[in-house]
Amino acid sequence: MFMKQLSVFVENKQGALAKVMALLSDNGINMRAVSIADTQDFGILRVIVKEVDKAKDILKSNNVIVSVTEVVGVELADTPGALSKVMAVLDEGNINLEYVYAFVTPGKAESAYMVVRAGDNAKATAVLNAAGIHTLTQEDLEAML
């Protein structure tokens, strides 16, 4: 019922991100969305790709720390106020958010997508769906990419 995200440990030093990108690039992995949480010492790279397991195996076998995280994919209209509505629904549902980022995809010009990692992903999905907001499964995502 959720979308999958690659979470990658990246040291905060020159060339660290380049190494991860080169591994994905060399293996023909296309990224749909990218977000980085940074601290003074390290970053967490969060990536949405079609071939999650393949990408994970490639990184893992090259000594990169990586995990697959379940996230909520939210589809919304690419118009002012759409995200505001989503946030209001989550707030009313008492959902805490760990992080959020967005992407758009060619051929779906009317829509924008949010990647949401909630304290409770299942509950977040339930309140969104109850408010008539569409959420994506990994299958939906793969079909779209």
């Binding site: 040291e11 010492d41 967490i44 990169v64 720390i65 990586v66």
Partner: protein, 432 residues
């Protein structure tokens, strides 16, 4: 209980003292006659060889330091003519200029015997295949254990160090029973076996003899688990003999010093006063049967303790603790004494990777301590807060144990250099 030389290894204290009295007196005479440095020092102190009758007289003798060995390099401390010397070994020189030591035929026999005592103490028999992954060459590790295996009549496999893939293949194909290498390399072999998908519980390997660098109880548990063996500690130093100066038995409660060949003292490094059983001090060794290179009261700079308590294995030789640090490895950070082994203990207790590096620096007038630890997959999370918590927990634990604050930095796996010899654990940037 199996012993290699039961009558010696379980001798009474009176018997051991009698051997030590006679052998010390003979060695003192030998070095007085043959080593100018000892003659000069004894003359300066007004001590004649005949003044040394029993081990009670040991404290009349001068100490020997590593610097003395450098000053007399290469052959100034040799007490036998070259025609009687059959082999040379050298220390790696990681802490300064290298030193060279020599062995007569008799010295090699003794060395073989004490290493054979170690092998028997971990349960090895003539049928066993001894896989020696210490480096062969000038380093004493490889040829030392090799000599022990041959003395006992085992099947020695002189693999030497390096080429981890091949080590594992040999272990599997040849059916190695006992592994000898540095503890950090044993950890690495364990990691590599796992990576390769090699099920170590299916290997005949059942014991390991690990030494030549500091390691902790937690590392022992980790090696025992990953390689599916019992891991034993061996102690030695090139200056005194090489591996086998003291050896652990199946009780794994400290290492029996081969007191028929060496006398151990634990001293206060500042005052020279002897420390009672169980109290920490610098370990000092005297050789009492060596012919080519017999050192008296050699200051090892290793910090440890001894106990005369009876050991359940039946051996009567005094037991020494694993060295807890070195007088010269001891870092003084903001006035606090810190041993790298303390930091390692914390990391392993917290189930962290044993791959770490300590970086000491000075910013302005303040010393800084940074501990870099490789992050492992099971500690990784997709949120900053969770990883920051790993760092915070480690920081707090280190602070409570060391008494000073350390900055913990998690780094990517494989970024801290692995070594197949001695691990470089400390980078002290204050020393310019």
């Amino acid at each position: 209980m199996a012993y290699f030389q039961k009558e010696i290894e379980t001798a009474s204290r009176e018997q051991i003292t009698e051997w030590q009295n006679q052998r010390l007196a003979a060695t003192v005479k030998r070095v007085y006659d043959n080593v100018p440095l000892y003659r000069e020092r004894m003359d300066a102190a007004g001590v004649k060889p005949e003044d040394i009758k029993t081990i009670e007289d040991l404290t009349k003798l001068p100490y020997t330091s590593k610097q003395d060995l450098r000053d007399t390099y290469p052959y100034g401390m040799f007490a036998a003519p070259m025609e009687d010397v059959v082999r040379l070994h050298a220390s790696s020189g990681t802490t300064g200029k290298q030193i060279v030591v020599g062995y007569t035929r008799h010295d090699l026999d003794v060395w073989g015997e004490i290493c054979a005592r170690q092998l028997v103490a971990v349960g090895a028999t003539k049928k066993d295949k001894i896989h020696v992954s210490y480096g062969y060459g000038l380093f004493t590790g490889g040829l030392g254990l090799h000599g022990g295996a041959e003395k006992l009549g085992c099947v020695s496999i002189p693999v030497s160090s390096g080429n981890t893939e091949r080590q594992l293949t040999i272990m599997e194909d040849f059916g190695s029973d006992v592994l000898c290498c540095t503890p950090s390399y044993a950890m690495y072999l364990g990691e590599s076996a796992e990576k390769k998908g090699l099920d170590t519980s299916k290997l005949p390997l059942r014991a390991g003899i690990f030494g030549a660098e500091p390691w902790t109880e937690e590392m022992r548990q980790s090696i025992e688990k990953s390689l599916n063996i019992k891991a034993y500690d061996i102690y030695g130093l090139t200056e005194i003999m090489g591996p086998g100066v003291s050896y652990e038995c199946e009780c794994q409660q400290g290492m029996h010093v081969n007191e028929d060949h060496f006398i151990i003292e634990i001293i206060n490094p500042e005052t020279g006063e002897h420390m009672p059983d169980g109290e920490k001090g610098e370990i000092v060794f005297s050789c009492i049967t060596k012919e080519a290179f017999p050192l008296l009261r050699f200051r090892t700079k290793d910090i440890g303790t001894v106990t005369h308590e009876k050991c359940a294995c039946g051996r009567t030789f005094v037991r020494m603790s694993k060295p807890m640090g070195r007088t010269d490895d001891m870092l003084i950070i903001r006035g606090v004494n810190v041993f790298p082994s303390q930091i390692e203990t914390v990391l392993l207790q917290m189930d962290q990777s044993p791959n770490y590096q300590i970086i000491v620096d000075r910013v302005g007038v303040l010393d800084t301590l940074e501990v870099q630890v490789e992050l492992t997959e099971d500690k990784f999370s997709d949120t900053v807060a969770e990883i920051a918590k790993v760092e915070k927990d480690l920081t707090e634990k280190l602070k409570s144990l060391l008494g000073i604050a350390a900055k913990v930095k998690l780094v990517a796996p494989g970024t801290i250099a692995r070594s197949e010899g001695k691990a470089k654990r400390v980078i002290d940037k204050r020393k310019k």
